[in-house]
């Protein structure tokens, strides 16, 4: 099966290459995760497709996989094909040294986007990434500003060990340890699964324990948590008993914030293509890139201040 899949993949690659052989000026090889992964990824892929297109003077070769080894093979292939630039959002943070070294030997500048790779700084030109810890800090700072007399939090985590989970959990854990009136009612992972989040909140409600904050590490899990509250007749959102916090800024989630059903949604910006485009243009014009690591500017949306314009501009998906 795997062999067949590989054969298929190789065929697809050859086909893609032969089609794109009618070259425009700059050839970029983009290695990313598949758009089906999440609303975030979908927007990310669309962003790159929109920027690295023929009108902007690019020929883009793309490869999508959740598997690190497949990504590595594709990147190596792009190097062999002689692309001008290599853009990578790695499935895993490790194992990339050999491929990046081979890119350096061939004089191909590498840009990392969305996620960092564990390797020497000299192996890439620049990285444009999200700071997950900063997203957590922003949300916790917002929560502190709400000035509740007591914080009793249900904390629903994403897939354990993922960048987003570590960053968003870290900020909350620190604050709970530091402040006396902050306590965690329950801290459990739903591995990004909406239904699992609902089950976790349902269990807390059934136990009769009191809580007034739900800190869910993505929008889907926040939605699951809210479904459990709705079924139990517990009010939430602006003027409700329970504060709802989500992350990622899916458009439907921001609508919930605008409607006052949720209180806060933290942004995780998938828009890195424009920044990288600017950097490539700088290199093409003989310039040099000053900053090695660019952190995408991200913010959070509060139900009190969000507008329809925010949803149109920052919302992901539909």
């Amino acid at each position: 099966m795997k062999k067949l899949a590989r054969l298929f993949l190789a065929l697809a690659l050859v086909l893609a290459l032969s089609i794109s052989a009618a070259a425009a000026e700059i050839v970029v090889g983009i290695v990313n995760n598949p758009p089906s992964e999440s609303g975030y990824r979908e927007a990310n892929v669309l962003d790159f497709e929109a920027v690295f297109c023929a009108e902007n003077g690019y020929t883009a070769k793309t490869f999508y996989s959740l598997q690190n080894d497949e990504q590595l093979a594709a990147a190596q292939q792009f190097i062999t094909d002689g692309v001008d630039y290599l853009l990578i959002s790695a499935a895993e943070t490790t194992g990339w040294d050999a491929v990046l070294e081979s890119a350096a030997e061939n004089g191909i500048p590498v840009f990392l986007f969305d996620r960092m790779i564990d390797c020497d700084e000299s192996l890439y030109e620049a990285a444009v990434v999200s700071d997950m810890a900063n997203q957590g800090d922003l949300a916790v700072a917002w929560l502190i500003a709400q000035n509740l007399s007591e914080y009793k939090i249900i904390h629903i985590q994403g897939a354990m060990g993922s960048d987003a989970q570590l960053g968003r959990t870290g900020a909350l854990d620190e604050q709970v340890a530091a402040a006396d009136n902050w306590s965690i009612v329950v801290q459990q992972t739903a591995t990004w699964d909406e239904a699992e989040a609902r089950n976790i909140v349902e269990a807390v409600i059934n136990s009769g324990e009191d809580f007034n904050v739900i800190y869910a590490e993505n929008d889907g899990m926040a939605r699951g948590a809210v479904a459990a509250l709705d079924a139990a007749g517990i009010t939430h959102g602006v003027g409700g008993k329970v504060i709802i916090i989500g992350f990622d800024c899916n458009r439907w989630a921001l609508r919930e914030v605008l409607a006052g059903n949720w209180n806060y949604d933290g942004q995780c910006s998938p828009f890195q293509a424009a920044v990288i485009d600017g950097m490539i243009k700088t290199l093409e014009n003989g310039g040099t890139i000053e900053t090695k690591i660019v952190i995408s500017e991200e913010k959070g949306f509060d139900a009190a201040t969000i507008t329809q314009a925010d949803i149109d501009q920052y919302g992901l998906g539909e």
Binding site: E37, G39, R41, V186, Q187, E194, D230, A231, G233, I234
Partner: protein, 365 residues
Amino acid sequence: MAELMKKTKKANKKNLGGYAQLLVPLLSILLIVVFNLFRDPSFFSVTTTTNNLGNTVLAGNLISILNSASELAIIAMGMTLVTAACGGQDISVGALATIAGSVFVKILRGGEITIGSIVVGFLACCAVAMLFGAFNGTLVSVFRIQPMIATLVLFTCGRSIAYWINGGATPTISSPLITALGSFIPGCPIPTPIIIVAVMAVLLALLFRFTTLGLYTQTVGVNQRAARLNGISPLVMKLVSFMLLGVCCAVAGCIGVSRLSLINHETMLLEIEMDAILAVAIGGNALGGGKFKVSGSVLGAYAIQALTTTLYAMKVPSTDVKAYKAVVIILIVIISSPVVKQAASRLWAKTRRLTAAKAGKEVSA
């Protein structure tokens, strides 16, 4: 055929009508229930509350368990049939349910959501799921590929197909009708998914009662050659079992979508194939095919969900949940293993002989 039916019935009668098989799942549920009652006597208390839509509804851990296990219970029903007929398991059920859910969402997003469009959507996703089921079934019956390998194809690509159907990562649908389907129908205090499980169980029971489906499936599972010699086509029976599993997946997919009015192709019913196979095993069904009891698998499904809910209620840390679950599952599987069963029945026979001998002595004295 009537002869054969009579014979099985006779054999079943000797075997407490086949109900002895339910001992293990019942025992495991009892184990979890007793454990919880010791831990927290109010664990199973059922209360009524008013939900945010103003309906009076039932609430409590018991309701949560029955409600959350719905998808698993329904898929376990179909999985039992496939296991019985083919002597192997379908590992693509999660992916297939997601495809079905995706079709459901696609159709509902096509226009205004009415009861009519929901019915059309449901029928369409049933048809699609049966088609994919037939695909799996053909690989297994015609090409005689081991079921786990045959269904690996759909397991691998199913979620991508589901994504293609909708073309968006987490499409949403919003309508009070969908909410009613996934949580509560106004005026009815019982969660709708529980009612759907009951309806499916009744339909399946009627199917077994008024057709020879059950008997034929079992016959094919026990001995294919003998079945063919008796005029039963193993090919057809295997295909039918996979298509019925397809329908089960479609129902589970629709429930999954309705619960949150959203579909996430990557996480919906993730790893449910493992739980479904486990439910079939806990239900005392032979994983190598042949004799089966759907009710056993359904009880198995509830046992698994009861375990998960218990772990949540105990606030077992995120990272440890799976380890705890594994320990309990090992226990249950060992208890239901043939070795332990044989030892238990030997012990049972021995004590009976001893008591009988004792009684005999008393009489003679």
